[in-house]
């Protein structure tokens, strides 16, 4: 198929310009001030919109296998597409966990039948139990570039050290959910004045920060690399930024809910607002937004965590942690970057180029089965493109979700900016905000 995107603001890696973009046979074949419409091509008017590399989510829970009632690879990919994503990295905390080649292949095969690229993060430990290393080398041979026990962090520092030493020569990265379970045990929201008043057991910021600190030091010791998942406190970001300045190979992400919401949302005991790490203080959310604007995060990552309604209906302390993210992340990121003042370069950096770098999905990376993401939007690039209209005002609604689950914390929230077009692997997947 051939598509001509007319007169959008094309967001290259380090510059922007209003131009036409011609996509054909899965690649970008021309970018120019004006391009004559080729015969048989579909013309898409994107005036006033931003045209950039397709979004990449390094942190998606697709729930398959094991919890298909909440999400499937197929439904998650649909949710991703309307959110502007062209590539998702499926987290391994499925049932059973993605800790061997058979299960990784299963997810990759199912992913290949969706319009998006679905990559896999493998488990660090067998069964995500934190005891014995999973076969990282075998999974790496299938193209797995990220390993994590996400859902929980690797608690044992000795195992984490071994994993870092083992992963390093494989050229893969470990991603850590930082929360010390002995400090966070039994907690269901941020520990602070609100949890104290509500009588909910808290998960202290220190539970996260202690593991961030530990893993920075383990990276220093081993020369390995760690990607810090969903950092939620001001101090966590400060520590990772300092480590990066020292030259350590660390990257980090922030989830939209951690900069768009804060712990006060839990005051009504609605478990839609329960997530790990928990929503933190207003001050933390402000600090995360500032860090995002200043470029301290490699990626905005959704931590899209579908749960079926009957589980989220439980009492706050009994409900599972996690919330949806794919379909609203772009608008929330735009808002956090300053809305009308948002820098389109920064926007596509955290939504596409940064996460593609972390997930090793860029053109120069050793990729297996997947197309290239996070490119410059230049001739020859694989055609993964997202068009974002920063002018559209809309209201998030639980009823409008493509996800199988309904556990969005943003129901009724006013948003600015919406994905209008997603072209993934050369195909038009979303047009005028709707699945094609």
């Amino acid at each position: 198929m051939t598509y001509l995107l007319r007169q959008g603001l094309v967001v290259h890696s380090s510059s922007t310009r209003v131009a036409d973009v011609l996509v054909s046979e899965g690649r970008i074949v021309d970018v120019a001030t004006t391009i004559e419409l080729p015969r048989g091509a579909d013309e898409i008017d994107v005036q006033g919109c931003w045209v950039g590399p397709g979004f990449v989510d390094v942190h998606t829970h697709l729930r398959e296998p094991g919890r298909e009632a909440a999400e499937t690879i197929e439904s998650g990919a649909r949710a991703g597409a309307v959110g502007g994503y062209c590539a998702l990295v499926a987290m391994p905390n499925t049932e059973p966990a993605l800790d061997n080649v058979a299960l990784v292949s299963y997810v990759l095969d199912k992913g290949a039948r969706t319009p998006l690229d679905v990559a896999v993060a493998g488990a660090i430990s067998q069964g995500r139990e934190g005891l014995h290393l999973a076969p990282l080398a075998e999974m790496a041979a299938l193209g797995v570039r990220l390993f994590t026990d996400d859902g929980t962090g690797v608690q044992d520092p000795s195992l984490m050290r071994r994993a870092l030493e083992y992963a390093r020569p494989l050229g893969v990265r470990l991603a850590q959910h930082c929360e010390d379970e002995s400090l966070a045990a039994g907690g269901s929201m941020n520990e602070g004045v609100i949890s104290s008043r509500l009588g909910l057991v808290g998960r202290p910021a220190l539970a996260e920060e202690l593991m961030v600190l530990r893993d920075i030091e383990l990276v220093r010791l081993t020369g390995g690399s760690v990607h810090f998942l969903h950092l939620s406190t001001a101090r966590s970001v400060a520590m990772v930024s300092a480590a990066r300045r020292e030259g350590l190979d660390v990257t980090c992400e922030v989830a939209p809910h951690h900069f768009s919401l804060d712990e006060s949302a839990c005051a009504g005991f609605d478990a839609q607002f329960k997530v790990h790490p928990p929503l933190r203080t207003v001050e933390d959310a402000i600090a995360l937004r500032q860090a995002l604007r200043e470029g301290m995060f490699d990626a905005v990552a959704t931590d899209h965590a579908p749960h079926s309604p009957e589980l989220k209906d439980r009492a706050f302390d009994e409900a599972p942690a996690g919330m949806l993210g794919l379909e609203h992340a772009a608008a929330l990121t735009y808002e956090a970057l300053g809305g009308p003042d948002a820098d389109p370069l920064r926007f596509f950096e955290v939504m596409s180029r940064g996460p593609a770098r972390v997930a090793q999905l860029r053109a120069g990376d050793v990729r297996v089965r997947h197309s290239a993401h996070g490119g410059d939007v230049s001739v020859g690039d694989d055609a993964n493109l997202t068009v974002f209209d920063p002018r559209q005002r809309w209201t998030a609604s639980r009823e409008d979700l493509q996800s199988r689950a309904r556990n969005t914390p943003y129901d009724g929230r006013s948003l600015i900016g919406r994905v209008t077009t997603t072209i993934a692997k050369g195909q038009l997947v979303v047009h005028e905000g709707k699945l094609v």
């Binding site: 004045v193 008043r197 009588g199 909910l200 609605d270 009957e310 209906d313 009492a315 706050f316």
Partner: protein
């Protein structure tokens, strides 16, 4: 701030104004008299249905609430909901929907999860919800009956009726709450009620049994329990909640008793006029000595008796009252 619980749910005391609390106390005073009659029954809630849903074990509070509802002539649906209903797979929403389908006006509920009563309030907005204790969060009727008991005792000493004294008995009253504050919904409700009425509340507890992030609590933490006993007009002793794993928060029960138990020796520091309270059930010999619990200064049985009129008042106002009836 909520200025009256008429026609409203009673979920927490931390948003009730002094007027709302006094309205319950004054109403309860009328019901005290009912409880002293030979025929202990009024038709206030005749034809109304009150469901009593205890997801967590309780004998005292449940009996007290059911007695209160029956004395108001309400029909009581008492449902034995094991705390394992979640394990059996039924959600709180489904349980409530089932009971609601039977036709009810109010739910009295206890649950081991903080906020469970709030959630139920959202599921059945046409039903009044009375929180009979949710997790570590609140136990509103206990807080109300505690301030009611204190006012009653102090008013009697002044040869006055409680309702005539309003909240004046609480102005600057020294209230010391001691023990397992961290795990106590009673402490949270007591502190809300006492401070709303103007009392000066201090808490004493081992470092591990003080709640995290106390800075916004309207209380002062005292480090010297013995000294605070000399200061106190009212001492509220809390139950050491061993069932919530409190054991691991202190080195031993013996050390807890040694440092924060209201022993006979320590009770001698109290002013002669001091009032000793305990929400029950007591761990005699742990947080309070038997001799202290049975001393004239202790009003523990009176707290139990007052539970009925307070719960009658809460049910009556919440179920029977409509928001329009609230004086503006």
């Amino acid at each position: 701030m909520i200025t009256s619980i008429r026609g409203r749910n009673l979920l927490t005391l931390d948003q009730l104004s002094d007027a709302a609390i006094l309205e319950v106390l004054d109403t309860a005073e009328l019901f005290v008299e009912v409880n002293q009659r030979t025929i202990k029954k009024v038709p206030a809630l005749k034809g109304r249905v009150v469901a009593s849903l205890f997801f967590e074990e309780s004998t005292r509070t449940r009996l007290s609430f059911e007695t209160a509802a029956k004395r108001l002539s309400a029909d009581v649906l008492s449902l034995a909901v094991a705390s394992s209903s979640v394990k059996k797979g039924e959600s709180l929403r489904d349980t409530i929907a089932t009971i609601d389908a039977l036709g009810i006006d109010a739910v009295v509920m206890r649950h081991s999860s903080s906020g469970a009563a709030h959630q139920v309030g959202g599921y059945v907005p046409h039903v009044r919800v009375i929180n009979a204790g949710d997790g570590l969060h609140q136990h509103p009727t206990q807080g109300l009956l505690d301030v009611f008991t204190v006012r009653q005792v102090l008013a009697e000493r002044a040869h006055a009726k409680g309702s005539e004294t309003g909240k004046e008995m609480f102005a600057g009253l020294h209230v010391l709450i001691v023990g397992d504050i961290r795990h106590s919904r009673v402490a949270r409700s007591d502190i809300s009620a006492y401070t709303a009425l103007g009392a000066d509340v201090r808490i004493a507890a081992p470092g591990t049994l003080r709640p995290a992030s106390l800075e916004e609590w309207p209380v002062r933490v005292v480090d010297d329990f013995d000294e605070a006993l000399e200061w106190a007009d009212v001492v509220g002793v809390l139950r050491l909640q061993r069932e919530r794993g409190t054991g691991s928060f202190v080195p031993s029960l013996a050390e807890f008793t040694e440092t924060y138990g209201l022993t006979s020796e320590r009770a001698r520091r109290l002013r002669p006029s001091a009032i000793i309270m305990h929400p029950g059930p007591m761990n005699r010999g742990v947080e309070i000595d038997s001799a202290v619990a049975d001393s004239p200064a202790a009003v523990i049985e009176r707290q139990v008796s007052n539970g009925v009129p307070i719960r009658m008042a809460a049910l009556y106002l919440s179920v029977n009252g409509t928001a329009e009836e609230t004086p503006s």
